[in-house]
């Protein structure tokens, strides 16, 4: 894997975010809100909150594989091993008194003054936040979203907009400030720019060879998740985009000798990110695009209509949609990134982000005429993942691609 030099700027950007949270927690310089990954982040920033994203924290625990120690602590408290392993990793880490944020000088996760969820992705986020709400006796508020949408209707957007508006009085009371609508508009503008820049970065992978892979994307999407709506995220993505465009110009491949291209659907397997990345590289296969990294692209965000466009952006997301729009979306990505096959991760503890359970992989294989592979695993719980089985599955899949395209095989072995 050809390493991206932007990674140094990425570390600095993410470090800035965590240090700001640490300051807010220690010096009470700003109120702290916990927020689900999709928001309503912009509203929180406009009110002056420092925003913490537990999903990002849980992913760090997964990547460090410390989640294996934390999850059982929460299972023992009556939370099933079958529910979201982000939830059980994160609460388990809290109960154990450990966090990877220690590397940024924080002694623990920054305690929330309010927790704000959006159930557009799953119910687990609400249960997760309510655990902390009970613990700290702070408000837990949020959007109870419609899900499995075929079309996003005006009624759907109206309903969610009303719910977001309904959060404002509580948030103003916690923040001790009135919402400045001009500021909100500015944050939404910055958030939209972040979304556009991030999309531009990801789209460079449509070139052959791809200058970045899904595995790079899961790391470099950090600022789009935790700093959306700030200039520091946008500054970072300008750096990354410039590097990726330079790579495209120079024909620099993320995977030297790229012979095959795949699309990844579903959650990352955080504890095996590096191993899987190396494995695909061994097979000269670029996982060029993914639903997951694309989930932080919000074309609906519009500074002229901040709250309404936030509602629409949250509802238009892949995870909130029914099977048909999801299939149409993947079909479009397969064409855009010109991939040879699709890998579906069946994430044991996240049915919400596993598109394997209602026949989609086979329907798409039949319709698109490209092979699909289902990998059993989990976002954080490695007990649900077998290295050997994954290796055989992936290697067997690439063999199948090689046999179907002997010309490419010659490129592989050259």
């Amino acid at each position: 894997m050809t390493a991206l030099t932007s990674t140094a700027a990425l570390r600095e950007t993410m470090g800035g975010h965590f240090h700001a949270l640490g300051d807010a927690a220690v010096h009470k310089s700003a109120p702290i809100a916990w927020c689900t990954s999709v928001g309503p982040t912009e509203l929180l920033r406009a009110l002056g909150f420092e925003v913490f994203f537990p999903e990002n924290h849980a992913a760090m625990l997964g990547a460090a594989r410390t989640s294996q120690r934390y999850m059982p602590v929460v299972h023992a408290q009556g939370y099933s091993p079958d529910i979201c392993s982000y939830l059980t990793s994160d609460i388990g880490a809290y109960l154990t008194g450990e966090t990877p944020l220690e590397a940024y000088g924080l002694s623990g996760v920054p305690q929330a003054d309010v927790l704000v969820f959006n159930t557009n992705q799953c119910r687990d986020v609400r249960d997760w936040f309510e655990w902390y709400g009970r613990r700290w006796n702070v408000p837990v508020i949020g959007v109870r979203s419609p899900r499995a949408l075929e079309h996003v209707t005006t009624d759907d957007v109206d309903g969610v907009t009303k719910q977001i508006e309904g959060l404002i009085p509580v948030l103003e009371a916690v923040a001790g400030a009135r919402l400045d609508h001009r500021r909100l508009s500015d944050v939404v503008r910055a958030s939209r720019e972040c979304s556009d820049l991030w999309e531009a970065c990801l789209r460079t992978a449509a070139h052959r060879p791809a200058p970045l892979t899904f595995f790079d994307g899961t790391v470099h999407m950090g600022p789009a998740v935790v700093l959306r709506g700030t200039e520091s995220a946008n500054a970072y993505y300008r750096i990354l985009r410039a590097e990726l465009e330079a790579r495209v110009g120079a024909g620099t491949a993320a995977i030297p000798g790229e012979a095959y291209r795949l699309y990844w659907d579903g959650m990352p397997i955080w504890g095996r990110l590096r191993a899987l990345s190396t494995l695909f590289e061994e097979f000269r296969t670029a996982v060029a695009a993914s639903t997951y990294c694309n989930s932080w692209i919000f074309p609906a965000l519009d500074p002229a209509e901040p709250l309404r466009s936030m509602a629409r952006a949250a509802l238009e997301l892949f995870i909130v949609r029914s099977e048909q729009p999801k299939e149409r979306y993947i079909e479009e990505m397969v064409a855009r990134y010109d991939v040879d096959g699709i890998v579906f991760h069946d994430c044991r503890t996240c049915p919400n982000n596993s598109n394997t359970r209602y026949g989609m992989p086979r329907r798409l294989a039949d319709r698109l005429g490209i092979p699909t592979l289902v990998l059993d695993g989990d976002v954080n719980d490695l007990r649900c993942f077998s290295d050997e089985q994954a290796r055989t599955n992936i290697e067997g899949f690439v063999e199948q691609l090689a046999d179907a395209r002997p010309a490419a095989t010659r490129r592989v072995t050259a």
Binding site: F283, R362, F385, E388, E395, G396, E399, D403, T409, T413
Partner: protein
């Protein structure tokens, strides 16, 4: 005439076969894999050479397959067992087919088109359900050797169900049935039925089905019951347990493209 070797280093057994240019099987051997996969591969290879009355120097290439394929240090190339079982089955049976391989630790369904090319595959989840391990556990609870299950199941008269796929839960169900005075033969047949229900739910089985793997080799009554369940004839090729190794030998002979880093040291 050239000679080719395939070694299938599986979780339970390691199999080696020697074939000639016409894919005639000249010798084969099966040894326990144990913890030393490299040693097991060498032993299986040596035994197969003895049976085939060939010397090591006469072998043009050795290809490995199976979960321990990376441990066969003397191999010239490798392909997954998904490829090799499919390749082996397609050698014996022409036309579009579904290969069902039931091994010690996993079960696989491999769909091939009429040219023998792989269309799709499915592997069972990370558990013993639908594999030889399930039968080993049941045999242990019945106090018999796994190979004895077949003789028992053949004499079954009552159709009992083990509703669970889970080895642990099925074991508990078995105890309940034993306490209820059910006959061991009916219990063995119930275990077969449970395994069959599990593998039958892994995929659809249109058209011809070819069954391979150690479980198929040692449990013919299970194959008959599986055929009844799927409503189709099941072809069991010669040497079903060695089918992966046979496929690896064919890959060696045909100079299949290895896709991993070992692609660089393929001699063919």
């Amino acid at each position: 005439m050239n000679y080719w070797t395939g070694i299938d280093c599986g979780s339970w057994a390691t199999k080696a076969v020697i074939i000639d240019d016409d894919a005639q099987l000249l010798g084969s051997a099966v040894v326990r894999s144990g913890a030393d996969l490299s040693g097991a591969s060498a032993r299986a290879f040596a035994s197969a050479l003895t049976v085939a009355t060939r010397a090591r120097s006469e072998i043009s290439a050795v290809w490995a397959t199976g979960f321990g394929r990376g441990s066969v240090g003397f191999a010239d190339g490798s392909r997954t067992e998904l490829d090799c079982h499919g390749r082996g089955a397609a050698h014996y049976v022409s036309g579009a087919l579904v290969v069902l391989d039931i091994g010690g630790q996993d079960a696989k369904v491999i769909r091939l088109d009429d040219g023998g090319r792989r269309l799709a595959h499915r592997m069972n989840r990370k558990c013993a359900a639908g594999t030889g391990s399930f039968l080993d556990e049941i045999a242990l609870r019945l106090g018999v050797e796994p190979q004895a299950l077949d003789g028992l199941a053949r004499a079954a008269t009552e159709e009992l169900e083990l509703s669970s796929f889970c080895t642990v839960f099925a074991g508990t169900e078995l105890l309940t049935l034993i306490r209820a005075g059910k006959r061991p033969s009916d219990l063995a047949s119930a275990a077969y039925r449970s395994l069959i229900n599990r593998v039958a739910s892994m995929d659809v089985f249109p058209g011809r089905v070819v069954a391979t793997g150690g479980v198929i080799a040692y449990h013919p009554t299970l194959v008959r019951m599986l055929s009844e369940k799927l409503g189709s004839e099941i072809v069991v090729p010669p040497h079903p347990q060695e089918m992966g190794a046979f496929g690896a030998a064919l890959a060696a002979r045909d100079g299949a493209a290895a896709v991993g880093p070992e692609a660089t040291h393929v001699r063919t």
